[in-house]
């Protein structure tokens, strides 16, 4: 420790020495200069006369100039135009044309953002406005752009699930999405926290474990959904079953009867207008947890590594148990990251779509019983009832806004910064 402290001291000393050296050198230079110039400029008689005339000319000139008080050094016009306006000290009188040119020059940044702004106007800004407007058009036809007037008919029908046959039910999709999200996101965050704490406590092989645990991040959710479906699928007919699938076989060891996890005969609970296909929920949640873990581990692990070790030493001396340290020290310290993960996880979960298609196929289960909010919107784009799609997207936006509001309120109270 003492050695460490010595280093800056030495440096300071060195620096001081250096400074001294510089000063002496400077002094030497200062001392040298006049002598040199004196030696060099030993003026001849002709030179003296020339100098005298020059100084006289300067005096005469300055006399004239001082009379015209506002005179400035006049730069050529084309040079003035190039100088950025904020660098000009004076109020140069410009012609109208020059003013325009200078304004355009100062706005050259727009030229840089032009491609992005143009694209966003067509594919982002206009669609947002259009979605809010078109949601109120009744019987909107996407190809002919005809509609029967304005009103809340779309919203009414979407919420009442009165959209005709062949489409998903909004309430069902909303319930599905909320259940997937609100179960899988906290679950995977908790699991990620435990894994990162374990990862943080080991030394050898840490990097290897980290890499393997990050692998699921870089996957195609549709493809991996298909793989997860194979874990649960029962292959065969009602008379003859080829295989019950790996999950059912493992559950069989504990005496559980085979369950049709992803097929048409999947068990459900009926709750009024909506059905709860709980077996499919389990499959979807298992997949969501698996695919959500890598990102959360990456974030929490790097957050843990930046926590000051002294907190742990202090806790150790105070005799805190491991679980106390985890919940009273570690969790509050990285709570901003946990809150960030919960917020982004819930946002992402509300937009879940392709994993469900991978698991349960294009129809999102049996007749959209596993539909999500986004799946709902797409199902109505595809069958041409665009009005319902617009209304659905506006409702999705409102739901996301409500969740964001709740999130910010909770994290204000809970997060220790």
């Amino acid at each position: 420790m003492a050695k460490k402290d010595n280093i800056p001291n030495d440096e300071v000393k060195n620096a001081a020495e250096l400074d001294d050296a510089v000063v002496t050198q400077d002094a030497a230079v200062d001392a040298d200069l006049p002598q040199e110039s004196a030696a060099e400029a030993k003026p001849s008689a002709g030179q003296k006369i020339k100098d005298w005339f020059v100084s006289l000319w300067d005096k005469i000139k300055s006399a004239f100039v001082s009379e015209r008080k506002n005179e400035q050094l006049a730069l050529p016009r084309e040079l003035v135009e190039k100088i950025p306006p904020e660098m000009l000290l004076t109020d140069v009188k410009l012609t109208k044309k020059e003013k325009v040119v200078r304004f355009l020059r100062s706005q050259s940044g727009w030229l840089f953002v032009l491609p992005a702004v143009l694209l966003m106007c067509i594919f982002t800004f206009y669609p947002i406005i259009n979605a809010f407007v078109s949601a109120f058009k009744e019987n909107y036809n996407a190809t002919t752009h005809r509609f029967d007037g304005w009103g809340f008919e779309n919203f009414k029908r979407v919420i009442m699930s009165d959209t005709g046959t062949g489409g998903a039910s909004f309430v069902q999709c909303l319930v599905n999405t909320l259940v997937f999200t609100l179960v899988s996101v906290p679950l995977s965050t908790l699991l990620a926290l435990l894994i990162s704490v374990a990862l943080n406590s080991i030394k050898p092989l840490q990097k290897a474990y980290q890499t393997v645990l990050f692998l699921p991040y870089l996957t195609n959710s549709l493809a991996m959904g298909a793989v997860f479906a194979t874990f649960f699928t029962i292959i065969g007919t009602s008379r003859h079953v080829d295989t019950y699938g790996i999950v059912n076989i493992m559950l069989g060891w504990f005496g559980v009867e085979p369950i049709d996890w992803v097929g048409i005969g999947s068990p459900t609970w009926e709750l009024g207008a909506i059905t709860i296909p709980w077996a499919k929920y389990v499959v979807a949640i298992v997949y969501e947890v698996w695919s959500g873990l890598p990102f959360k581990i990456l974030i929490l692990f790097s957050a843990l590594q930046s926590v000051n070790k002294q907190y742990y030493d202090a806790a150790k001396i105070d005799g805190a148990s491991r679980s106390t340290v985890l919940w009273k020290v570690t969790a509050p310290l990285i709570s901003p990251m946990i809150s960030y993960l919960l917020v982004t996880g819930i946002m992402g979960g509300m937009k879940q779509y392709s994993a469900i298609v991978g698991l349960f196929g294009d129809q999102m289960g049996f007749n959209y019983d596993m539909g999500t909010m986004v799946g709902y919107i797409y199902s109505y784009i595809e069958n041409g009832k665009t009005g319902y799609a617009f209304a659905g997207s506006v409702l999705l936006f409102i739901v996301i806004m409500i969740i964001t509001l709740i999130n910010t309120q909770i994290s204000k109270k809970r997060v220790t910064y």
Partner: protein
């Protein structure tokens, strides 16, 4: 060694620690004297507990790593099994016979419109290369203007751009779907490239990166007579190269995984590699199993072969660019 070199703060901490240690010793001595607690034994017990905790940590991590890896393993071995072995009532964890013909069959299979694997791969590569390169260029130029240049309305523009990040993308998709139909852009590459060229998130990320470069560098470059564009190309881009590599990789991966939009606007011939995976793959010609399985019945082993082929490039990319990908992903954690 030299106590006077220690800063007051450190001395205070040192004192606290020493006091704590002293009181701990006192406590130990007291406990040893007044009960039948054996300090040596207790220390040993705690050491054993630590070893057990480590074992538990490793066991837990190994279990998690196993489950993280299991789907990939299952995918690979399933793609190499014969369908008969795959359907056996007790699953095998290693194929008894490698059926490479699965891959050949999947590669040859074409849909009714004649679009097969190679066509989809070509589509994906063309769209991937164009949308990634153009997207990165647009992102760089936009982020630069937002970070460094002065023009009126800049802050409002940036605020609006960030505001759109809050809005679910599906809201754009419906109108875009109608727009491209009106423009007769269906079944082209343009429709796959243009609408998602600008990613506000990457603009934001890169802008923050540009902002971290000291302004004095900009002034120095200006003095040296470099134009704004020259400064961007010769100074900013080399300095932010790691972030740019991350953005390029993530953008390409995004194109590779895109599924919804291509399916919505294009027919099969113009769709992407991920759309191809959702096909039902069956023994159409009867060459694989000689008609044992109905020609229309989708075979899981073939599907797994297709899934493997789509996932493999991502793996290769991950192995070679692990640093950049993880950097890019974790950036979103601290900046997002």
């Amino acid at each position: 060694m030299k106590e006077n070199k220690v800063t007051p703060n450190e001395m205070k901490q040192e004192q606290i620690l020493q006091e704590k240690a002293r009181s701990a010793e006192k406590m130990h001595a007291y406990a040893a004297a007044n009960s039948d607690l054996n300090v040596e034994k207790e220390l040993k017990r705690q050491r054993v507990a630590r070893v057990i905790r480590n074992i538990i940590s490793y066991a837990f991590l190994t279990l998690c790593a196993f489950f993280a890896f299991l789907p990939f393993y299952w995918m690979i071995i399933s793609s190499l099994k014969t369908e008969t072995e795959y359907r056996a009532s007790s699953p095998t964890f290693f194929p008894t016979e490698f059926k490479w013909a699965n891959y050949a069959a999947v590669l040859q299979q074409t849909s009714s419109s004649g679009a097969g694997f190679w066509r989809m791969l070509l589509n994906t590569l063309v769209v991937g290369i164009f949308s990634t390169s153009l997207g990165v260029i647009v992102t760089i130029v936009t982020a630069y203007a937002l970070a460094r240049m002065k023009f009126s309305g800049k802050n409002i523009l940036f605020a609006i751009m960030l505001g759109t990040m809050m809005i679910p993308g599906e809201m754009f998709t419906i109108t875009n779907y109608i727009t491209v139909a009106d423009l007769h852009w269906n079944d082209t590459y343009t429709v796959l490239i243009l609408p998602f060229l600008v990613s506000i998130y990457y603009v934001y990320l890169l802008r923050n990166n540009f902002m971290q470069i000291p302004n004095s560098l900009y002034q120095a470059a200006k003095v040296d007579g470099l134009s704004d564009f020259g400064y961007l190309v010769k100074v900013m881009v080399p300095l932010t190269a790691p972030t740019l590599v991350s953005i390029t990789l993530l953008k390409f991966i995004g194109t590779w995984n895109s599924y919804i939009w291509p399916r919505l606007v294009n027919n099969e011939e113009w769709q992407m590699i991920t759309n191809w995976v959702t096909n039902g793959f069956s023994d159409t010609s009867g060459a694989l199993y000689g008609g044992q399985y109905p020609l229309s019945e989708p075979l899981t082993t073939l599907r797994m072969a297709a899934v493997c082929m789509v996932s493999l490039p991502l793996f290769i990319l991950f192995i070679f660019c692990r640093k950049y990908i993880m950097h890019g992903v974790s950036k979103s954690g601290t900046k997002g």
